[in-house]
């Protein structure tokens, strides 16, 4: 099994029943990239408003994805292949002050 920690912050957790941290296990018969993980999250963790999470099959603008505290853009974006024990975090940008 592929063990992942999935975290939400900056308000993104409100789409997920206000739970900030999720431990998940995925069947690793096939390879998992972020692309597939996004769909899995939408189908399995998301409580409501899918359009606030995904847009055009990628993350909606204003949410930053991190893998082990690094911007996913450094790792190949949607094509990054997940490893066991990866931490994937979704951070909604804050605008207040």
């Amino acid at each position: 099994m592929l063990h992942l920690t999935i975290e939400f912050s900056g308000g993104a957790e409100l789409l997920f029943g206000n739970v900030k941290k999720h431990q998940v296990e995925l069947n690793n018969d096939t390879k998992w990239t972020i692309r597939e993980l996004l769909v899995w999250i939408k189908d399995n963790l998301l409580k409501h408003k899918p359009e606030m999470f995904l847009q055009d099959e990628t993350i909606r603008p204003g949410i930053l994805i991190l893998v082990n505290d690094s911007d996913w853009d450094l790792l190949g974006n949607l094509s990054y292949e997940l490893n066991d024990n990866d931490n994937v975090t979704f951070i909604s940008t804050l605008h207040g002050g």
């Binding site: 804050l94 207040g96 002050g97």
Partner: protein, 296 residues
């Protein structure tokens, strides 16, 4: 070493002058630098107070708002008997009482394409802090002007128990647009009026904006360019994340700047003129506070 500090300045700043990693050279640089603070609310107050007491040369304060009763639980420069007064003016007055050696400039204006470029051009070093009722459009606009003028941008934001902090457009780090090439849908943006904010969170982030601004100006230490601090005050968790570098191929602004030798004033004006901020952000004007949406 040679310096341009008076004896009274040396006495006043003595406790920072004796820090080995700071010293008289940093104080000299601070004294000869200018910083512009955009937004004189929750983040702007501590930022301005600490930059002022530290002895920055010139401090510009921008805000077109007046003080409201719902501001003062977190905006620690605004006394309860100042409701209705200009935030920028009042913050300048408070700073002046702490340190009259600093030159203060008050700008009671709304940031638009026309005002932004002229104003920021006047400040060799720029430091950003967005006020609470701010909108996404102002963030993109300030970012773009900073990129066009090659000025670093210390960005803080806070909501509820959370805060975020980074330095944009500095050295090899990304700008705001490199990180967020597309604006979020307008109904997905929440602010302090609808989601709330706790005072100590803006206190922490605003103080750290002053710290990063001092480090940029004095050219010391390692700043948060290319990194971002994420703070969750409810569970007390901090993390510092690694960001993508400047996106010279794909970022609309970084590309425009790096593809030419020297931008003229006219070039900059044209680039800003040709970009439709209102359409890009899906809002109705530069001061759009009207969208009242469910939180996220």
């Amino acid at each position: 070493m040679a310096h341009n500090l008076t004896n009274s300045e040396i006495e006043r700043y003595s406790r920072q002058l004796i820090i080995p990693d700071y010293g008289i050279e940093s104080q000299n640089k601070l004294k000869s630098s200018s910083i512009l603070i955009i937004g004189c609310g929750g983040l702007g107050c501590p930022s301005a107070l600490y930059l002022s007491t530290a002895g920055i040369g010139r401090l510009g304060l921008v805000d077109d708002d007046t003080i409201e009763i719902s501001n003062i639980h977190r905006q620690i420069a605004h006394d309860e008997n100042k409701i209705g007064i200009s935030k920028a003016q009042n913050l300048a007055d408070r700073c002046k009482a702490l340190n009259s050696l600093v030159k203060y400039e008050v700008h009671n204006i709304l940031f638009t394409k026309t005002t932004a470029l002229n104003l920021i051009e006047q400040y060799p070093f720029l430091f950003l802090s967005i006020y609470c009722t701010d909108n996404v459009i102002t963030r993109y606009l300030i970012n773009d002007v900073c990129v066009l003028l090659g000025k670093p941008l210390v960005s803080g934001s806070a909501l509820k128990f959370e805060g975020q902090l980074t330095v944009y457009n500095y050295l090899n780090g990304p700008c705001y647009r490199c990180l967020y090439p597309t604006a979020p849908p307008a109904h997905a943006v929440s602010n302090c009026s609808d989601a709330g904010i706790l005072g100590p969170i803006v206190g922490m982030i605003g103080s750290l904006q002053a710290l990063e601004a001092i480090k940029v100006v004095a050219e010391i230490g390692t700043c948060l360019n290319g990194r971002m601090m994420i703070f969750d005050g409810f569970d007390f968790l901090t993390r510092i994340i690694k960001l993508r570098p400047r996106q010279i191929e794909t970022c609309l602004m970084c590309k425009s700047v790096l593809s030419r030798e020297n931008l003229t004033k006219k070039d900059r004006e044209e680039i800003l003129e040709n970009f439709d901020y209102i359409e890009f952000c899906g809002v109705s004007n530069y001061n759009d506070k009207s969208i009242n949406i469910s939180i996220l």
